[in-house]
């Protein structure tokens, strides 16, 4: 069996066991752990020297309709698979005792994981899309059944929003497929890329815009971002970790995979539009983040804000920017997963996430304080974490598009986007100060417990991943660079 298929099947089989009534936590941890090891093994056994898609397996499913169940992974896929397996493992580990339908809960988590891994390793357009859809359904269930607050309403809102985004994306994908000459029509992403290169298909600006906004809605591109903060605030922590950390990256991955090789001219053509929208993500949403009075909402908005920086790497459309963007997918995924895990732990220990009721938590829960400090610093892009490495690559990449001696669009927008690092420092440090420092808040008691060892180790793994790749970005860049090498001017 192909190793990539195993990566997808292990969580699915584990999920089946969970639903069938096996002890869900233990078996899920086992399955997620095995998947993580397998993901690492694939990364190590991938031959960087040869490059391209490896571990390819093709099964013609409906050959007459051109649908193949084809899997394969290049450096970009593998980095994202590592992200997915790592975050899944952490999310399963931090899952607290579930009161209702525990088996279902774990099964949903594993379904999301399988869907994300499937989407990242599909080289057939149909399954690329289908796997993502598969992963969305459990996301809604997790919010709708185990969420907090107005979970039903929020689950519906997210459903409508993401269904809408997926629908636009679907139209775009169909347009993409149709753009090829009829005798060469294919759903194989590799062939589509080659056709795009060879100039044999020019789907045109409409298809690009469909893809941009279809993927954009899934990534919470301004002004289609309002689903995200509420969804993450309501979702149980492991679900928020998996969606914000992994599944949302599908949209950016899709842009890298499809838009970058096939639509370079259109990306340039609409660069100004994307620059304005991404500034909406960074500056406007940044200010909205500042106004939040609850940690979970603030984290949700901050995750929306960071997507703006990822888009900056995308429109830069050079090796530096795209490499930085893909590194950011990984770094941001680990960071936001760690933050949601910690936020869930704070809620469990104190019963609230309102800044006004918290304070001085580091005094009674020093381990929680220390790890949240690490995660917060990673989030604001402190050197040493790979978030910094990715941001700096994106800024250099975007700035490279400017011209010396004049303040053109790219330089001006990069400068404005750079202001985001100030905004994120302001809200993150304010949150840290309000929750952990200062006098004890009303929800913080002298006997408030420190974090449980499960959450602690899960978060330590995530932070260790950020530090290792932050000190040695080459560990990932060696995989990512060749993917974007052909774009180098």
């Amino acid at each position: 069996m192909s190793p990539l298929l195993s990566l997808i099947l292990i969580p699915l089989v584990t999920a089946a066991f969970c639903m069938a009534g096996a002890a869900p936590r233990r078996i899920s941890l086992f399955g997620a752990g095995a998947n993580l090891l397998l993901g690492l093994y694939l990364l190590v056994s991938y031959n960087i020297g040869i490059g391209g898609f490896q571990f390819v397996s093709e099964n013609a499913l409906f050959p007459s309709y051109g649908i193949h169940f084809s899997l394969g992974a290049d450096g970009l896929s593998l980095v994202l698979i590592l992200l997915a397996t790592l975050v899944t493992f952490a999310a399963v580990w931090v899952t607290p005792k579930i009161e209702k339908f525990a088996g279902m809960f774990y099964a949903c988590l594993l379904f999301i994981s399988a869907g994300a891994i499937g989407a990242f390793s599909s080289i057939d357009l149909f399954f690329f899309y289908a796997f993502h859809e598969l992963a969305l359904i459990p996301t809604f269930l997790l919010i709708g059944i185990w969420g907090s607050g107005e979970r039903q309403r929020i689950a519906w809102k997210v459903t409508i929003y993401l269904a809408f985004g997926s629908f636009i994306l679907l139209l775009g994908l169909i347009g993409l497929w149709q753009a090829a000459p009829p005798e060469l029509r294919t759903l194989d992403i590799r062939l589509l890329q080659q056709l795009g290169y060879a100039g044999m298909m020019q789907p045109g600006p409409v298809v690009y815009l469909l893809l941009l906004f279809g993927f954009g809605i899934l990534i919470a591109l301004f002004p289609f971002h309002t689903w995200a903060p509420e969804a993450y605030a309501s979702a149980p922590a492991p679900a928020a970790m998996l969606h914000a950390g992994v599944l949302k990256k599908f949209g950016l991955y899709g842009l890298l995979r499809l838009a970058v090789p096939i639509f370079p001219a259109e990306i340039q053509q609409f660069a100004h539009l994307v620059l304005i929208l991404l500034l909406g993500n960074i500056l406007y949403v940044g200010f909205v983040t500042l106004a939040q009075k609850r940690l979970d909402l603030m984290l949700g908005y901050s995750s929306v804000m960071h997507m703006g920086h990822a888009f900056l790497g995308f429109v830069a459309l050079n090796q530096l920017g795209l490499g930085g963007m893909s590194l950011m997918l990984f770094a941001h995924g680990l960071t936001i997963a760690a933050l949601f895990a910690l936020s869930g732990e704070i809620a469990r220990r104190t019963g609230t996430l309102e800044f006004s009721q918290l304070g001085g938590l580091a005094g009674v829960a020093p381990k929680l304080g220390l790890l949240f400090g690490f995660a917060a610093m990673a989030s604001i892009g402190l050197p040493g974490f790979s978030t910094f490495a990715s941001e700096i690559m994106i800024f250099f990449g975007a700035f490279a598009r400017g011209t010396v001696g004049s303040f053109d669009w790219f330089q001006t927008c990069t400068a404005l986007a750079l202001w985001g690092v100030v905004i994120s420092a302001v809200y993150m440090l304010r949150a840290y100060r309000n929750i952990f420092w200062g006098a004890q808040g009303s929800a913080v008691k002298d006997d408030t417990q420190d974090m449980s060892s499960g959450v602690r180790w899960a978060v330590i793994i995530l932070i260790a991943g950020l530090l290792v790749t932050g000190f040695r970005p080459a560990l990932l860049l060696n995989y990512l660079n060749p993917v974007f090498a052909y774009l180098a001017p």
Binding site: G144, T226, L290, A291, L418
Partner: protein
């Protein structure tokens, strides 16, 4: 041991120590202290070895971010006169402060945390000193920021300390925003982030004078933040919430001088930039130097007086960068100032500990007889800071003022006026704290601190006197000997004496409270209040408006509009008595079916 490894050990030993303390010794006060002190001593020893081997060249680099053929950011070390002197200054002072801390922090609950942060600071500071490229400097620039944040927030349960730490970090981020932008601009024009590479390609920059000016001034924003120049100076006095040894090491002697060091590092670029660049830098330095002096005259907290004094002296250094023909002149003042200001802070720490954490000078008094060693050191420090002939500050400050005289008459008189203020506020401090009668119970019973604290003081007193002597300085700097117009000498001497006389007239007789009250100066020219208003009203207001807009306009109108359309679908589904699970599945199943349908019946 291979000398090629020295700078790498100097750089990474503190990081390793910080990691070991944080993860392996989180509860072992003694071991954490010893490990910290020994690490600092090791870096100090090796730094002196590097200093005494001027021929040592280290070319090895560690690749950090690398895109073959397009872009690379290495971690490399640069060993030239500038960095060698800075290495010695930083590690020597750090070692003494690490030792002193063992006495000052005795009984504190967070000693391992404290030493881990100090080691992280040392690592970051040495990274700035050794950096051979702009991005590496920026990396460590940010890291000193975070170690400063952690150390200011050491007493994190105190609201004031928590706020001060947050403010220090965010204000520095504002400066770093400009710094990074300037780096990006210089890189775009010269194609290099290496200091050497930028200097080689200066011709590409001088083609665009306006662009070069903007880039240099943006890089200078980094100095505004880190070296607390106006208008980003507000964080430094508040940083005094941290433990006093931290104020001494970070917020007086070394970290805040990093901005000046950076300017000295890129001095050739500044020289190549149009005149206006250095003029802006000069005026900011001069205004800072004078205004901070004014604010210092009316502070009551012993550490805040010294903090404003630090800002003022940093202003001198910035002026020195702008008016002198070489970076050495500013670095010379950095060098002498590091010793005596560090010592003054450690003296303040001794007084504070002796008085059971009392920092208000109006609760002190009469300490001369009770703490004679500390008093002696304060006298030395005060004389050096005020620029008394025969003490180190005299030589370095005179040089800057002399060059200011050559550059701009107004700036000359401003810097000379700041010298008057310096002499006044320092003697005010000395008279109130050490003369007269004790003004509180604690002052009455104050005792000399233990040897672990006094020995570093006495060791620092030596360079405070002698570091400026030409026989000493010539080993560290290649100083020019400009013509000293008589007016410079007379003006500075008059400033010194004027300050002493004025302070003596007002404070020597031991008044119980300050006979002078100037609210404008005591309230720091109301700049802090203005920023408070800016943050709470303007930024807070914008944030609230944005939040409202997001909720009611973007989400409310746009999304609800879309949702209404779909609502009907949901209603139909409900009529069909489908539960939510099925409904979600239906939604996405329908999408998949549509796709299949399209593929099959295309």
């Amino acid at each position: 041991m291979n000398p090629q490894l020295w700078p790498w050990i100097i750089l990474f030993a503190p990081l390793v120590a910080a990691g070991v303390i944080l993860f392996l010794l989180p509860r072992n006060n003694t071991a954490a202290g010893w490990l910290g002190v020994l690490t600092a001593a090791l870096t100090c020893f090796l730094s002196w070895k590097v200093f005494l081997n001027p021929s040592l060249v280290v070319t090895a680099q560690i690749p950090w971010i690398e895109i073959p053929g397009i872009f690379s950011i290495p971690i490399g070390v640069i060993l030239d006169d500038l960095s060698r002197v800075m290495l010695v200054v930083v590690t020597t002072i750090a070692t003494l402060v690490f030792i002193y801390s063992a006495g000052y922090m005795r009984g504190d609950e967070g000693i391992p945390r404290y030493y881990a942060s100090l080691c992280l600071f040392l690592f970051s500071m040495l990274g700035i000193v050794l950096a051979d490229n702009f991005v590496m400097m920026f990396i460590f620039w940010e890291l000193v920021g975070v170690s400063s944040y952690l150390l200011i927030g050491h007493y994190f349960r105190k609201d004031s300390a928590a706020d001060a730490a947050k403010q220090a970090f965010t204000v520095n981020r504002v400066g770093d925003f400009g710094f990074m932008l300037g780096i990006l601009m210089l890189w775009l024009a010269t194609g290099s982030i290496m200091f050497a590479g930028i200097e080689q390609n200066l011709s590409a920059l001088t083609l665009h004078p306006g662009y070069l000016t903007a880039a240099c001034l943006l890089v200078f924003c980094g100095t505004l933040g880190k070296s607390a120049q106006m208008p980003l100076h507000v964080w430094l006095p508040n940083s005094m919430e941290g433990p006093t040894p931290v104020s001494s090491l970070l917020h007086a002697a070394t970290m805040v001088a990093a901005g000046v060091y950076m300017l000295a590092r890129i001095f050739p670029v500044l020289l190549a930039a149009p005149e206006i660049t250095r003029e802006v830098i000069m005026w900011i330095g001069a205004i800072t130097c004078f205004a901070a002096g004014l604010m210092a005259t009316q502070q009551d907290d012993i550490k805040r007086i010294l903090a404003y004094s630090t800002i003022s002296q940093l202003g001198y250094m910035v002026v020195g960068i702008a008016v002198a023909p070489a970076g050495e002149i500013a670095m010379f003042h950095l060098f002498t100032h590091a010793f005596f200001k560090c010592m003054l802070f450690l003296c303040a720490g001794s007084v504070i500990i002796a008085l059971h954490h009392e920092q208000d000078i109006w609760k002190m008094g009469g300490l001369l007889g009770r703490m004679p060693l500390t008093a002696l050191c304060v006298v030395v420090g005060t004389l050096a800071l005020a620029g008394t002939p025969g003490f180190s500050g005299y030589y370095s400050k005179d040089l800057i003022v002399a060059y200011a005289h050559g550059a701009n008459n107004a700036v000359f008189w401003i810097t000379a006026g700041a010298a008057l203020l310096t002499s006044f506020y320092m003697f005010r401090l000395f008279f109130v704290v050490f003369l007269g009668r004790p003004r509180s119970e604690h002052a009455e019973h104050a005792k000399q601190s233990p040897a672990v604290m006094t020995i570093p003081l006495l060791l620092l007193a030596i360079p405070s006197v002698a570091a400026g002597y030409p026989v000493v300085a010539k080993h560290f700097f290649d100083l020019p000997h400009p013509e000293m117009p008589h007016v410079v000498h007379y003006a500075l001497l008059a400033a010194l004496i004027g300050g002493v006389v004025l302070a003596a007239a007002l404070y020597a007789r031991g008044p119980l409270k300050d006979p002078v009250r100037i609210p404008l100066f005591a309230n720091r020219l109301y700049i802090d209040n203005f920023y408070g208003w800016l943050v709470s009203r303007v930024q807070g207001g914008l944030a609230v408006i944005g939040s409202w807009f997001d909720r009611w306009i973007i989400d409310g109108l746009v999304v609800t509009g879309a949702a209404r359309t779909v609502w009907a679908t949901g209603y139909v589904l409900r009529l069909l008595q489908l539960g939510n699970l099925q409904a979600y599945a239906f939604f996405f199943g329908a999408g998949m079916l549509a796709l299949l349908y399209f593929l099959i019946f295309r």
